[in-house]
């Protein structure tokens, strides 16, 4: 099975270490993983702001970049969810049938459901609070949404439990939005900041040293609040914990 690594624009630019950790993790598990060069963006920022048509060329480009792979795997639940849920509709208008939609996975989902590792060499002797991000939970079903009456599950927790020395916690409002929301963050800045502040505080109340999750975008938002308010907690993408020591 050939895996194409999907590195979203802001991970490429701001958090390349998350991409590196993802690659190392997949490699370590003996998988055939490649990075198709010169990726840019999936088009979600434009579409969520109301300009879905501006995502068309980017969606077509992604189709082209990943056509030779069996799986597309990326370390960003929200971007993956956008490709999975929205690219088909966007591409349909230009008569293209979306192929990525059925083969794209968030890396946690991919590890948990497809690769199913029974052990990892990673060690991370810290308290971490899981950030259950909206699109990861409610679109990709990485964990059971708190609104629904279904048995609790968390693919992130299952994976983190393979890490030695870790203590896993979750905030009280287990999957409340952190207030990022793409351009929402700048169109409704006061609300967005307020939500971010509340969310960081909720994570802090668990006693965790780190907030971790499958979405660097939420982590980036919370990191912005943490730095501004000088709060004693850090953010780290889940792949960096799973790949710790590789």
């Amino acid at each position: 099975m050939k895996i194409g690594l999907f590195i979203p624009c802001y991970i490429n630019a701001v958090y390349p270490e998350v991409g590196v950790a993802s690659y190392k993790l997949l490699k370590h598990l003996g998988l055939d993983v490649d990075y198709p060069l010169d990726q840019t963006c999936c088009g979600q920022p434009m579409a969520n702001a109301g300009f879905e048509n501006e995502s068309l060329k980017l969606a077509l480009r992604m189709e082209d970049l990943f056509k030779q792979y069996d799986y597309v795997v990326g370390p960003s639940a929200s971007c993956v969810a956008f490709v999975k849920e929205n690219h088909p509709g966007i591409l349909e208008k230009s008569g293209h049938v979306c192929l990525n939609s059925s083969k794209i996975y968030d890396i946690c989902e991919f590890l948990h459901d497809v690769v199913k590792p029974e052990e990892l060499p990673s060690v991370f002797p810290h308290k971490v609070s899981i950030h259950n991000s909206c699109h990861g939970v409610r679109e990709l079903h990485l964990s059971s949404p708190s609104e629904m009456n279904i048995p609790y599950f968390s693919k992130l927790r299952d994976l983190l439990q393979l890490v030695k020395g870790i203590e896993i916690l979750e905030p009280k409002r287990i999957d409340e939005c952190c207030g990022f929301g793409g351009m929402f963050a700048v169109e409704e800045p006061e609300v967005s900041v307020c939500m971010g502040h509340d969310k960081v505080k909720d994570h802090m109340s668990t006693g965790a040293e780190y907030i971790t999750g499958a979405d660097s975008s939420c982590l980036m938002h919370m990191q912005g609040v943490i730095e501004r308010e000088h709060l004693p907690i850090k953010t780290i993408h889940i792949t960096q914990i799973l790949a710790a020591g590789l």
């Binding site: 490429n12 590196v20 109301g50 300009f51 963050a185 169109e187 006061e190 980036m220």
Partner: protein, 455 residues
């Protein structure tokens, strides 16, 4: 880039204590709802059923409404059809005229808010008395509801106490809820006894029996309809359900979703007029049949007005009902406002981070968040897209469609990290209002890969 919502929201949040209290109060309702919904193993199945029944009912409105009318007439009711708010208000006025009535006692109805009925009848010299406690408080304060189920949720009891000192002459400084409720009850008793005509909304209208169902916690609808000989019940035509079996699905969902109770204290079924009295039913369209023609938004007609999408909405909880420009706030209000008049109510579409919690709590499975996403796609067409957002989006498109340019930009991006603080954090940078900007990496992933640095 500001919208009317974002400006009003900033004002609401400026009072951080009040905002935190509002957020926490509504979150408690959400938590109660979770407890209730988790106590029913068949909860998700019930939601499926409720959605299916509503989709069926709304696609069979022609036959179900006529069946309802036929049965209601056979029960002795008088049925009216109102195509819009104006017709609705005139029908009510005509009934009042026929009975030479002056005072109308009314239980809570968002439809009469929608039709602006109180203002209309006041202007004609009639007196309308709201009998729901929250609505009565608002009437005394000359305010509109900020929530569709808990209309005065934004007001603290101390404020209510101060208002009642002026209006009812209650003890100074006494804001004990029981004391205040007793004072209102005493005041209301006289109104209940002397009103000429009673008015209620309807949570459900049952086609197979011609009855309507009104759900309240205070029993004020029952008290209000007990004395006057004339009862007017008004409802939007999407309130129709096929039969009592279907009704049972909704009464199990409504209060559990809306307030976290197993059922409302009173679930009253009205079928016939009082002996010697009249029972008027007004079936209102007011734009609902237009929604039937919009497949992307048709599910909004499923709404049973439980209000839970407001309680779960992280934006509503932190910004309050008055920050929205439509009379119904929160996720359902954003959508209904756009269906009513997209040019007028587009300012509410920004009030959503697309977290999709609303779609998950909705007992009738309205795809609320997904519909807001779809409305955003329409804003440019109607000339309501934010010009700054358009420029930002267009700029991103230009850059992202040119990988070589994007890669070059990333090479220079780290320079931004070194800019003096005043150039980065100024009034132009909305991100910088309460957050530090992320730092660009020295080397992008793409460059590292090209240089074979990732092993």
């Amino acid at each position: 880039m500001s919208t009317k919502h974002s400006i009003a929201a900033a004002r609401f949040i400026a009072n951080r204590k009040q905002e935190a209290w509002h957020d926490e109060t509504l979150w408690m309702v959400r938590a109660k709802r979770d407890k209730m919904s988790h106590s029913l193993p068949e909860w998700e199945r019930l939601r499926e059923l409720a959605c299916d029944i509503k989709m069926y009912s709304n696609s069979h409105l022609d036959t179900l409404l006529e069946e309802f009318e036929k049965n209601a007439i056979a029960n002795g009711a008088i049925v009216h059809w109102a195509k819009d708010a104006k017709e609705h208000n005139e029908i009510v006025e005509k009934i009042l005229q026929q009975h030479n009535a002056h005072t109308l006692i009314k239980s809570k109805s968002m439809l009469t808010e929608e039709c602006g009925m109180n203002e209309y009848l006041f202007s004609k010299g009639y007196d309308i008395v709201e009998s729901d406690l929250g609505e009565r408080i608002l009437q005394w304060m000359h305010l509109h509801p900020s929530h569709i189920v808990m209309p005065a949720i934004h007001i603290k009891r101390q404020e209510v106490g101060e208002m009642m000192e002026r209006v009812l002459g209650t003890e100074k400084g006494n804001s004990d809820p029981t004391y205040l409720t007793h004072a209102v009850r005493k005041n209301m008793r006289e109104k209940f006894l002397t009103a000429d005509v009673a008015m209620t909304g309807a949570n459900f209208a049952v086609a197979s029996t011609g009855e309507i169902v009104v759900c309240t916690n205070e029993g004020n609808a029952d008290m209000g309809t007990s004395f006057p000989k004339v009862h007017i019940a008004t409802f939007g035509m999407e309130k129709i359900v096929p039969n009592q079996e279907a009704l049972g699905v909704f009464t199990r969902l409504l209060a559990r979703s809306g307030t976290g109770q197993p059922i409302t204290t009173y679930t009253s079924h009205y079928r016939k007029p009082e002996d010697g009295g009249e029972f008027h039913l007004i079936i209102v369209d007011n734009g609902r049949s237009d929604i039937l023609a919009k497949p992307d938004h048709i599910r909004t007609l499923n709404c049973i007005r439980c209000g839970e999408c407001m309680n779960t909405c992280p934006v509503y909880r932190r910004t309050g009902g008055y920050s929205y420009t439509y009379f119904i706030p929160g996720p359902i209000g954003i959508n209904l406002g756009m269906l009513k008049n997209p040019e007028e109510y587009s300012d509410n579409v920004s009030a959503c981070s697309l977290c999709l919690s609303c779609s998950n709590v909705c007992p009738v499975k309205i795809d609320l968040g997904e519909q807001i996403y779809r409305w955003r796609q329409d804003l440019d067409k109607i000339g309501k897209a934010s010009s700054e957002k358009k420029v930002m989006s267009g700029g991103m498109k230009f850059l992202m469609e040119r990988p070589a340019l994007f890669n070059t930009a990333l090479k220079f991006a780290p320079l931004v990290n070194k800019l003096p603080r005043f150039m980065i954090y100024n009034g132009l940078n909305a991100w910088g209002k309460g957050r530090e900007l992320p730092t660009f990496a020295k080397e992008s992933f793409n460059d590292m890969w090209k240089k074979n640095k990732i092993q």
